[in-house]
Symmetry: C2
Subunit: 218 residues, 2 copies
C-alpha cells in the first residue's frame, strides 16, 4: 500500500502540532507565573524554547493563543472528569464524589492550568470569550449527569439546568480559592465538605421535583 | 450660628457629587446597552448630558469611573439586602428567602446595574479588580448571616466560609442567567427554586458541623 501522503508531510504536521501544544503549555506557564498582562509573543516563544516565528505559524495573535489554551485545558479537565465518572460506582454520593475528586486533583496536580481555568484569570479577551462558551458546556454536561441522579427530571428541565449552573459556579469558586491557597483545607477535607454541599443542593432539587410533580397532578 | 464654610462652597460640592453620580449612572447605561468596549469619555458625557470636562473633574480615567461605578452599585445592592434581612422574620427559610428576593428584585428592577454587577461583565480592568474585592466582601457578609443560621459554627469557621463562597458564586450565576433572560423562570419561581438549593446546601453545612463536632469530642 502506498501512503496517502508522504511520511515527510505527516511528520511535518505532527511536528507543528507538537509545537502548538508546547506553545500553549508555555503560555499557561507564563500567565500563571507572571499574570496575563505579562504575556507576549516573545515570552511565550522563550518559555517554549522556540523561535517567535513558530508562534505565528500556529496562532493569529495572542487572543487566538489564549483562546486555544483555554479550549485545550477545558478538554483535558472534561476528559479527567468523564473518566472518573465512568469508573465510579452508581449512586449519588459516589458519582458526585468522583466529579469533585477529579476536578480537585486536576487543579492540585496542574496548578498553572488550574489557575488559568479559574474565574480569577480575567486576563486576555480571547480566553474571556472562550471561558463563557466553555462554562455553558460545563453547565450542559453536568446537567446530564444530574438528570441521572434525580428521579423524574430530564437534563432539559429548567430546575436541573438551574441546579447545574448553581453548582458549576459554586464549585468553580471554592476550587479557585483552594488553587490559590486561600482556604485552610487539605485535599480530602475539601472534597468531603464540597460533596456535602453538592448533596444538600441535590436534596433541594428533589424537593423542587416533588413539588412540581405534585402540582402537575393536582 | 455661622456656617463652617460658605453655602456657595457646599452647593458646589453637592453639585459635583450629583454630577459624579449622574456620570456613573450614564456609564452603567452605556455599558448595559452597548458593551464595555463602547465606553468612552465622550459617550459617558453625552449620555449624562454633561460636558466631557466634568468626567475629568470626578474621575482620573475610565478605569477609575468603572471601578467607582462597581463600588456604588455594590453598596446599593448591599443596602437592599441588609434592609430586607433586618425586616425578615427569624428562621432559616425566612432569612434566606429575604436575601434571595432582595437580590432578585434589585436585578430585575435595575437591569442595567444588574448586568453590570454580573460576572458576565468582564469589560473594564477597573471594574474587574473592584469586582474581585467586592466579591470577597459579599462572601464575608453572607458568612456572618450563615453563622446565625447554623448551630455551633462561627462566621470564621472554614466550612461557613466555604459555604458562603459556594452560595454567593452559585446564586451570582443563576441571577446572571435570569438577568440576561436566559432561563425560563418567573420571578417567584426563580426565588422559590433558588431558596430550595440554598436550604439544601445549608443542610449539608449542618452535616459538616455535626461531623466536625462529633470528631472533636471523640
Amino acid at each position: 500500500m502506498r501512503p496517502a501522503r508522504s511520511y515527510g508531510g505527516i511528520a511535518a504536521d505532527e511536528r507543528m502540532r507538537g509545537r502548538r501544544e508546547q506553545l500553549i503549555e508555555a503560555a499557561i506557564e507564563v500567565m500563571a507565573r507572571d499574570g496575563a498582562g505579562a504575556l507576549t509573543v516573545r515570552r511565550v516563544a522563550t518559555e517554549a524554547g522556540l523561535s517567535t516565528r513558530f508562534v505565528y505559524e500556529s496562532f493569529a495573535d495572542l487572543d487566538d493563543l489564549t483562546g486555544a489554551a483555554f479550549d485545550m485545558t477545558s478538554r483535558e479537565l472534561a476528559t479527567a472528569v468523564n473518566t472518573a465518572v465512568r469508573g465510579a460506582p452508581t449512586g449519588r454520593r459516589a458519582r458526585i464524589t468522583a466529579v469533585v475528586e477529579a476536578i480537585t486533583d486536576f487543579f492540585l496536580t496542574r496548578p498553572a492550568k488550574g489557575k488559568f481555568l479559574s474565574t480569577r484569570a480575567y486576563g486576555h479577551p480571547g480566553s474571556a470569550r472562550t471561558r463563557l462558551a466553555r462554562s455553558e458546556d460545563y453547565v450542559a454536561a453536568f446537567a446530564a449527569l444530574l438528570a441521572d441522579l434525580v428521579d423524574g427530571l430530564g437534563a432539559e428541565d429548567r430546575a436541573v439546568a438551574l441546579t447545574s449552573r448553581f453548582l458549576v459556579s459554586a464549585f468553580g469558586e471554592t476550587m479557585t480559592a483552594l488553587a490559590y491557597g486561600e482556604t485552610p483545607y487539605t485535599r480530602d477535607e475539601f472534597v468531603h465538605d464540597n460533596v456535602e454541599l453538592f448533596l444538600g443542593a441535590l436534596d433541594g432539587l428533589d424537593r423542587i421535583a416533588d413539588q412540581s410533580s405534585s402540582s402537575d397532578s393536582s
